[in-house]
Amino acid sequence: MQKEIVLQINELKKHFGQVRAVDGISIEVTRNQILGFLGPNGSGKTTTIGMILGLIHPTGGTVTLFGRPISPTSPEPLRKVGALVGSPSLVPYLSAKENLGLAARLYPETSQRRISEVLDLIGLQKSSNQKAGTFSTGMKQRLGLGMALLHQPELLILDEPTNGMDPSGMHEIRNMLANLADKGVTIFLSSHLLHEIEQICTHVAVINKGRLVAQGRVREFVGQKAQVKIRVDSTELASQLLHELPGSIHIRTNGDYVTVSGVSSRAVVSHLMSHGVIPSEVTNGDLDLETVFLELIS
């Protein structure tokens, strides 16, 4: 059975004068997917999310949410979406509870009990009467996340949700997102933290310089290419020699080790040995997301 497409981005473009911030990207997110949206700073992630949420006018292309097109002039499909874009949009002189109240009023079916539930969920029950402007970055992120979750959205769009959080806060958010995914919430998660994406997401899309460079299942992504880790006396010489190998390979050095991807271990070892470099240790393994990401954007 074909899964329902929750979010469809088709040839989406945003040009600011000569700058092509987003240049024709197409992404599809089906129900229950957790899509990690990756890209270096300035790659167009936040601009893309802004266009999905109707906050930015696309130069071209379309965004469809739950089968209905969305634009700044027709934002109705966003009613089923919860979003946190960059630093949360909070009213600093209102308390956490009042900020949640603002969001709740836009969904009249939201009860006071739900506000209390969300305060518990984001761990701000004790600070509920404290003004949002006095919160730390992590607390603001939590409140922003709470506002996004308040109306129990079907699609959650999060841009760097763990920004400014300490490791335990990040861990809590990761667990919260995993629980939400278990409950059937579709998540579109933009993050710099590749380890986080690798742990939470089912799918990943990588954007660089406004263009989509790869997308697919996380497992396929990290498992499609193997990496070879070798220990040599001279990593510099080994690197030089390995660059002579044909094809698109990625080489990293770390101490006595050289990590190579995009080529088989047999080819690596035989090439080095033919030039008199004998590896003292050879390890084969799958690539982690970080390596794949660096390879994709390089």
Partner: protein, 285 residues
């Protein structure tokens, strides 16, 4: 849904310290001016420092029903009301861009048009509260001064329907300037540009244009009467006439009907421009 969005905008507005600070300051200014006049009149009871005509004029200014004319003047386009409204509108509207609080509604499927109209409505309510402050403080103070100076409020001479229409006319002349600053705040996203621009236009630029046009001849003078200030003057001339403190037969003024329509046109223009800009803006940095 509009009422819910409006309730949010009201909550944001009425929880702001700036709003209440302005209300208190506005009340104190009105009270201070009237109190200063009262003290001047009282200390010159025997005509020691003031000419009798001057004292008589001040006495009338503080005595009901004529006192209402002056109280209402605080509300009108050349009074304090619009200045306070412009400061509030500029600060509140532009700061939403800094805090990105429009996203709260827009990313939840609220249309830009509805959000903008709710913001405007909330600011109009704030404007009404400014007017109410002026009327309560000014009306209350002059009531007390009237009793102290004349021993009565002379209520039989107070024409309530004229008073009501005068208040409405004065309140109406505030709107173009509120809308102008709203438009400047939306277009520039800056409180300084919006409030500063609004104040410069209303307090200086308009007067300079009117003076300059006077040098260019009658035709130019007549044309500049259609600026918000000229139209407001024309409309408020009716207040003076109705409250017995002036004449509305000045030939350089636009007819009250045309003035009302002209002011409505300015209001619609500024709201339309605000909407046009807001609809086209990208709201993520």
């Amino acid at each position: 849904m509009f009422l819910n969005v409006l309730a949010n905008e009201n909550m944001k507005l009425f929880k702001r310290r700036l709003f209440w600070a302005e209300i208190i300051f506005l009340g104190l200014i009105v009270l201070g001016i009237l109190l200063a006049l009262f003290i001047t009149v009282e200390t010159n009871r025997n005509g020691s420092g003031l000419l009798s005509d001057e004292r008589q004029m001040m006495l009338e200014t503080l005595s009901w029903p004529q006192a209402w004319s002056n109280v209402i003047r605080f509300v009108g386009w050349d009074g304090f009301g619009p200045i306070f409204l412009m400061i509030l509108v500029g600060a509140v509207t532009a700061q939403e861009y800094t805090w990105r609080t429009q996203q709260l509604s827009l990313s939840r499927g609220i249309s830009r048009r509805m959000l903008l109209m709710a913001k405007l409505a909330a600011l109009f309510i704030a404007g009404l509260l400014f007017i109410l402050t002026i009327l309560v403080v000014g009306g209350g103070a002059t009531a007390i001064f009237s009793l102290l100076l004349n021993g009565s409020l002379q209520l039989p001479y107070l024409d309530l329907s004229h008073l009501l229409f005068s208040i409405l006319r004065a309140a109406y002349t505030m709107l173009p300037y509120g809308c102008l600053v709203f438009f400047l705040a939306v277009a520039s996203r800056s409180a300084v540009v919006a409030t500063g621009g609004g104040l410069v236009i209303s307090l200086m630029l308009e007067n300079m244009i009117i003076s300059g046009a006077g040098l260019l001849g009658d035709k130019a003078s007549q044309i500049v009467q259609y600026l918000p200030g000229g139209l407001s003057n024309s409309l408020l001339a009716l207040n003076n006439a109705s409250l017995g403190t002036g004449s509305s037969s000045d030939m350089s003024l636009v007819s009250p009907l045309h003035a009302s329509i002209g002011l409505a046109a300015w209001i619609v223009l500024f709201i339309g421009l605000s909407l046009w800009f807001f609809q086209r803006q990208d709201l993520v940095e």
